[in-house]
Point group: C2
Chain length 224, copies 2
DNA sequence: CGCCAACCTGACCAACTGGTCAAGTAACGA
DNA sequence: TCGTTACTTGACCAGTTGGTCAGGTTGGCG
């Protein structure tokens, strides 16, 4: 009685999927407070009372949406691990983050909204998972610097730069579209954006010509 | 009767200032929908009905806040004009944008919120003023490229990179603070961030060693 | 002092929103 | 066929919110 069986998931799974997809769109566009459960239900094509059958409260639904997003990001984050070469590791990471911004802009917007409003429901994620992830990547970047593979930069600020630059193409896509004549970037334009971002950052940290990096180590105590 | 005189502004001016400052804080933290006029009035220290005496609707108040922010940004934008040297011009622009992010993070957050929600009230700004400003700066960057002062990059994406990276320190300051052990960046840390950002971007576009730039002009039709 | 315009505010209201509930229907196993 | 569980939904409710309004108070001017 605790668990029925595995071949009876269809109705519940299907409805939860419909609701979560609708919720992601509505939350992304209007924020937590701005979204209404009625609107989400309408977008999902079900009555509001039915939505509350699957997700007891608006906040529970919101948490599910946020968790889903966070997991997508963590997957991309593994690009960092597999490889000792900063050019390859960072190119891959930036490329994946750009792809996520293009493919799942809603998720990025929900996240941005949450941080903007001081993370009322995901503060624990920031303090645990994100923090650990960041610390370990900072260590990797420090090793690259010690090895002379890149110039000495503050690793945290390099990470923030990568995050902000790539997520900008999701969070601010409305502004980008408007400046692009009201039309979304074409695939070709987006590839150019990705290449521009990647090249500026990699060249900016001296990853392309690692022979110069050790010589250029001025102001060594710029790290905290 | 149409206009009284100029020496009777004190009460109105003072109250409008109080309300606008409170509104900027509340709108930044909760978004348009999430903010309540009652909360703003309380923050300003006046009854709600009095707020509606000065600003007839919530949206009118919001527009005033947004306009105020936009004008601050336009001032910083002029750093771009004064100078033909990309190192000097971009350093100054990035520095000013970083300072604004630190000094007026609320304004940046209101703007971010607005774009995130598809700019329901500032779409006209995007299509006119911001568009013109962007076009003219793109032209300047193109001239730098033609002159060999920087490497060939797509100017739009360079601008987006500067915007996103600098504004990140306002919009995502809660995330940054959390990753910094729950404390805001010290002045010294912030100066390091500013220097890191500036150096990566300037080195990334080859502004420091302009002798190499013309040689590296591959893929010349990457511009649309 | 009287007048008038600007300013102030407690009380109020209509609209909306998250969430509940009771009365269903569908589906499946025995 | 019956019983049970999962699912569906229109109607409803209590709390909140933007905005109004009538009846004030204040302060300057003649």
């Amino acid at each position: 009685m605790a668990q029925k069986n595995a071949n009876r998931p269809s109705v519940r799974e299907e409805n939860e999927r419909l609701i979560l997809e609708a919720a992601e769109r509505i939350f992304a566009e209007h924020g937590f407070r701005g979204a209404t459960t009625g609107q989400i239900a309408e977008e999902a094509g079900i009555p509001k009372a039915n939505l509350h059958y699957y997700f007891p409260t608006k906040e529970a639904l919101y948490r599910c949406v946020v968790e889903r997003i966070f997991n997508i990001w963590l997957e991309a984050a593994n690009s960092f691990d597999d490889c000792d070469d900063p050019v390859e590791a960072l190119s891959s990471y930036i490329s994946k983050k750009m792809d996520i911004s293009r493919k799942y802009p809603m998720g990025s917007k929900v996240w941005a909204n949450e941080i903007l409003h001081r993370a009322p429901v995901i503060q624990d994620y920031l303090e645990t998972i994100l923090r650990e992830w960041t610390d370990s990547r900072v260590a990797i970047i420090r090793r690259w610097i010690t090895a002379g593979a890149i110039k000495p930069v503050d690793p945290e600020y390099l990470l923030y730069m990568i995050w902000s630059t790539t997520q900008h193409y999701a969070d601010f896509n409305h502004q980008i579209d408007t400046l692009n004549g009201g039309k979304p970037l074409t695939d070709r334009q987006f590839e150019n954006a990705k290449r521009t971002v990647t090249e500026i950052i990699l060249r900016g940290i001296g990853a392309y010509d690692s022979r110069d990096n050790r010589a250029d180590t001025r102001d060594p105590d710029s790290f905290e």
